[in-house]
Amino acid sequence: MSYDRAITVFSPDGHLLQVEYSMEAVRRGSTVVGIQGKDCVVLAVEKRATAKLQDDRTIRKIFSIDDSTVLAFAGLTADARVLIDRVRVEAQSYRLIMEDAPSAEYLARFVAEIQQKYTQRGGVRPFGIATLLTGLDPPNQRPVLYQTDPAGTHSRWKAQVIGGNNAKSLREFLEKQYTADLDEAAAVKLAVQALMEVVDSGAKTMEVCVVRTGGKREMLSESVVQSTVQVLEQEQQAAQQQQQPVE
């Protein structure tokens, strides 16, 4: 008997194969990097090359959910669209009922709950996306970074990568390079540096968004990203030259 047909069937060794296959779908998506700094969270996404005739301004990967909550996903775009709309409605519903802004943890938990529901019901398939969500933490209004996956778990991260074939190696890269209390410039630099490992360099292949303490958020302009890329390239070249033996 094949255990990967129905979502609601466990395999003998305890796997939900459909859920694991949906994580494969996430791996086929483009990369997203999230870095938690001292007073900011940086989300950087890989922008894949679009067809010549396609208007790439209509391809978005970073979405605003609420005033200070931002979500980036990796995986099936259409699934993300549906999920993002649900979260947006939930955020407004929360504001209406609670007379207060929803915290990032609440929204991440909501996304995760929906994703989980779709792994435990007949006739549906899981959402083929993982998300990195950033928003404010109520007591001190500092931005925090949460991740959800198709299995419906959510957890908080200091730095995380989703999507793309190299997520695992990128995570190892971040583990080596990440330090606590990065200021904004350093956090942006680290995010771009991580992305540069997997994309062709150049600002045109990246989109970077920063959410700051107090709720201000900004999509960094191409020129800012480009200058960060240039600085990193120069540093890389300098490091390579140092390693080359002097002839």
């Binding site: 519903s93 209406l96 009922i97 609670m98 007379e99 207060d100 943890e105 019901r121």
Partner: protein, 291 residues
């Protein structure tokens, strides 16, 4: 979290749907379409049975509503109601003062009703109107507040708690609920006082009095209220206002339960029989006359 109109994906009965309008509509409104017989619906968790008549709202409202005065003259069973409750904010926090009488028509059914529901150490609710309505819905609000706390790791704000209750009341509009309550507490935004009504009214304010004796209480409160009352003066004012209301309103009486809401939660100050207060104030009047 959803207010009316937005249905999230639902699997099975959510414990929080028990008694909600969503459950009523789902199981009773569509009865004809889904072909369920009355037997299957009886005792089903998650729904209130509504009368099997053409207009259930009107039927409930005219037969079961607790109304003041002679409004319930046509009812076979007159439900317990009648009250004076009051609460006011001052510089030292919030005073909540209530009576403890329940009347069913002309019959005093109880002199020892607890009209302040201690929802949790920092949130209080008062009850005026139908005793059963207040009691049930405020205890259910307590459940919702507790679930919020467990799910989110922090206390619910008074604004949100009162909003949840107001939303519930609004969704049962027309069904004849009778509830006039004040939700009060101290959260991270300071001391808060909200009035919530059975038709979904929700008002933020500094002073409210609710119930059949409220007009008498307002007279005393408006006369002596100042923001800079000391704690003793505020307690005395709360006590006095309830006494005067119970003196003139037949549907109020019994014991005056008085609470003080502070930054560290609420404190019960006293429970004094209003009869004893009568003689205390009588004595006071006599002393004033003679001095």
């Amino acid at each position: 979290m959803s207010m009316f109109g937005m249905e999230p994906l639902v699997i099975g009965d959510d414990i929080l749907d028990i008694g909600s309008r969503k459950a009523v509509d789902r199981y009773c409104g569509n009865k004809a379409q889904i072909g369920l017989s009355q037997d299957l619906l009886m005792g089903r968790p998650g729904a209130f049975d509504v009368p099997n008549v053409k207009d259930p709202a009107l039927y409930c409202s005219s037969h079961f509503r607790s109304t003041c005065g002679t409004g319930d003259a046509g009812q076979e069973i007159k439900f317990a109601k009648g009250t004076t409750t009051l609460a006011f904010k001052f510089n030292g926090g919030i005073i909540v003062s209530v009576d403890s009488r329940a009347t069913q028509g002309n019959y005093i059914s109880s002199q020892t009703v607890k009209k302040v529901i201690e929802m949790n150490p920092y949130l209080l609710g008062t009850m005026a109107g139908g005793a059963a309505d207040c009691s049930y819905w405020e205890r259910r609000l307590n459940l919702q507040c507790r679930m919020y706390e467990l799910r989110n790791g922090r206390r619910i704000t008074v604004a949100a708690a009162s909003k949840l209750l107001a939303g519930t009341m609004a969704s049962y509009r027309g069904y004849g609920l009778s509830m006039g309550t004040m939700i009060t507490g101290w959260d991270e935004t300071g001391p808060q006082l909200y009035y919530v009504d059975d038709d979904g009214t929700r008002l933020k304010g500094k002073m409210f009095s609710v119930g059949s004796g409220s007009t008498f209480a307002y007279g005393v409160l408006d006369n002596y209220y100042r923001e800079d009352l000391t704690l003793e003066e505020a307690i005395d004012l709360g006590k006095r206002a309830i006494y005067h209301a119970t003196h003139r309103d037949a549907a109020s009486g019994g014991i005056n339960n008085l609470y003080h809401v502070t930054k560290d939660g609420w404190v019960k100050i006293h429970a004094i029989d209003v009869n004893d207060m009568h003689y205390e104030f009588e004595e006071e009047k006599r002393n004033e006359m003679s001095s």
